[in-house]
Amino acid sequence: MSGRERHTGSAARARRRRAGGGERPPLALVAPAVVAIAFVALPFVALLQRAPWGDLGGLLRDPVVTDALRLSLIGACAATGIAVVLGVPLAWLLARTEFPGRAVVRALVTLPMVLPPVVGGAALLYAFGRRGLVGGPAYDATGLLLPFSTWGVIVANTFVSMPFLVITVEAGLRSVDRRYEDAAATLGAGRWTTLRRVTLPLVTPSLAAGALLAWARALGEFGATVTFAGNLQGRTQTMPLAVFLARESDQGAAIAISLVLIAVSLLVLVPLRDRWLGP
């Protein structure tokens, strides 16, 4: 009565699914995916192959490396923190309110993602440098200066990484079911309570993803940092900068520092990815 069945095809797949093994993905998807994996993995494999495993211990204790690592972590974490504090309210405004020029603001916020980092660094100088629009008067009045300081690194990092957080959180806020907020209202929660206890907890996955992206971007930031904050060991020389300079004189050291950076990144990204970005 029913139509012909391909016993080898769908029935076999169904059997496999029942056995708990999951469906085998179609070859048309697997092939490009494998190419993608190879494309990304090969450079790392090549890097590992050239690493000076013997000298690694000494290199890793070198103050150049430890200073750079410390600065990179401080810079990335601080930038992420600032991005969250400033970016979440901005994301909320973009997602939930209508105001004139909203499209312009959104474009402006994404601009650092598109701008070449060095251009971003130069722009930061024009704004916050010693002769800058805001930096100039501030320096004359207080003697405070962002370039050549660790705060300069943090500012440059924040500039390039905040857009990632804002974009991700805005998308998350847009996808929150507004009716949860209706429910909270009928239960007696004012706007602030609703935001705090309902809306924000519901965007936590987006927030985590955005913060992670921002952190990763800040960790790898080079162009804007070196152009804006300069380069000085212990104060502004982050890991990417240390690698770049080490390459001039000592290839082995450069690779070693790169490995440290990769290891630190993996240590953070791998455990977090599934926990926060999974269902």
Binding site: Y180, D182, A183, L187, G190
Partner: protein, 361 residues
């Protein structure tokens, strides 16, 4: 129907809302201890009306007053936001906060209104016990069954002690089997709490089982109001008749006479003298006879009809007919087979005058 509590109705409202295709104009009163059901087809504006009472949707005219205090009065420029209204709302798909446990969901309203955490959670635990969910206090909404989630939603709304409890299609999200159980339980729970209860539904069975009074809303207006028994016995519009399972025809007559005329000009022979000039004539589907050709004897109340739909049910077949008098007829499966009914068929329908029940419109 009016007055029941010491100071008048708990909920006194006149809901005027400009919707997409029409304007809703709905006077509504719910007394202390009453359960009123707003019954109407989908798209009639019932949910919007409910949201307006809750304060989630501002009125375009009229007012919402609870215990004498105006909550929404466009004329007087009064609008109390939902958070400050003594109104609770149980949503159609419960809308429990997914990131909170059942206990914290129920405690949410109390905490939002300032109660300390421990106290709120204790009260919430009490509510969950009352609704038979004591063991599920720590569960996340995603792990609860449909019926359990709906009960938690009910507890959540009740925990803040609202004067008016609103329920939006409370059983719609449940499967048929669960619906039967939850309907019975809901009736008990609603009876246990004070205040006014207003529920919205498109399911006549829900309305009949749960409500003390039914308000039927069609095209933005109240088409009928009364106790379930009254509405079932004397439906006034085709919609209500259909819900209840009968047919109604609007007709006019000379009071005292036995002839009536429908709006389309068809003649009706009544079995009893007409009680008024404007009549609603009810006739049960089972009382109609279907004939493949015009009957020879030319009995009274015989009209041509076209089959619109044939709906077989367990012990009978419902046939929807179009023609000068649109009707729903019911025949036995054997008769349906004999007539070989199919949509588009032309046949004749007749009904004995004594089977017509005419009452003032």
């Amino acid at each position: 129907m009016s007055g029941g509590g010491p100071g008048g109705p708990v909920l006194d409202a006149h809901l005027v809302l400009a919707l997409d295709r029409f304007t809703l104009d709905l006077p509504l009163r719910v007394n202390e201890g009453e359960v009123v059901a707003l019954l109407g087809p989908n798209g009639a504006g019932k949910t919007t009306a409910l949201r307006a009472v809750a304060g989630l949707h501002p009125l375009d005219g009229g007012h919402v007053t609870v215990d004498g205090t105006p909550l929404d009065r466009p004329d007087g420029d009064t609008f109390v936001p939902p958070a400050r209204r003594p109104v609770g709302l149980v949503f159609q798909d419960h809308l429990l906060f997914p990131h909170l446990s059942a206990l914290d969901n129920v405690a949410f309203g109390l905490r939002a209104r300032g109660a300390p955490k421990g106290e709120a959670r204790r009260a919430a635990a009490g509510w969950l016990e009352r609704l038979g969910l004591g063991g599920h206090a720590g569960a996340r909404p995603a792990t609860l069954s449909g019926g359990q989630a709906q009960r938690v939603a009910l507890a959540r709304a009740l925990a803040t002690g609202p004067r008016v409890l609103l329920l939006d299609e409370p059983l719609a999200a449940l499967d048929a089997r669960t619906r039967i159980d939850v309907r019975a339980e809901l009736r008990r729970h609603l009876a246990d709490v004070p205040g006014a209860r207003l529920l919205v539904t498109h399911d006549a069975l829900d309305a009949v089982t749960l409500a003390d009074r039914i308000v039927v809303v069609e095209d933005g207006r109240v088409s009928q109001e009364g106790t379930p028994a009254e509405v079932a016995r004397r439906p006034r519009t085709p919609y209500v008749a259909d819900l209840v399972g009968t047919n109604v025809i609007a007709a006019s007559a000379v009071p005292g006479g036995r002839d009536a005329t429908t709006a389309t000009g068809a003649r009706l022979a009544l079995g009893a003298p007409a009680p008024a000039a404007a009549l609603t004539v009810a006739v049960l589907p089972a009382d109609m006879a279907l004939h493949p050709t015009q009957p020879d004897a030319a009995p009274p109340n015989t009209w041509p009809a076209t089959v619109v739909a044939v709906e077989p049910e367990r012990a009978r077949v419902r046939v929807r007919l179009d023609g000068p008098v649109p009707l729903v007829a019911e025949v036995t499966p054997a008769a349906a087979a004999e007539l070989a009914l199919a949509p588009g068929d032309a046949l004749w329908v007749s009904v004995a005058p004594e089977r017509l029940d005419a009452y003032p419109a």
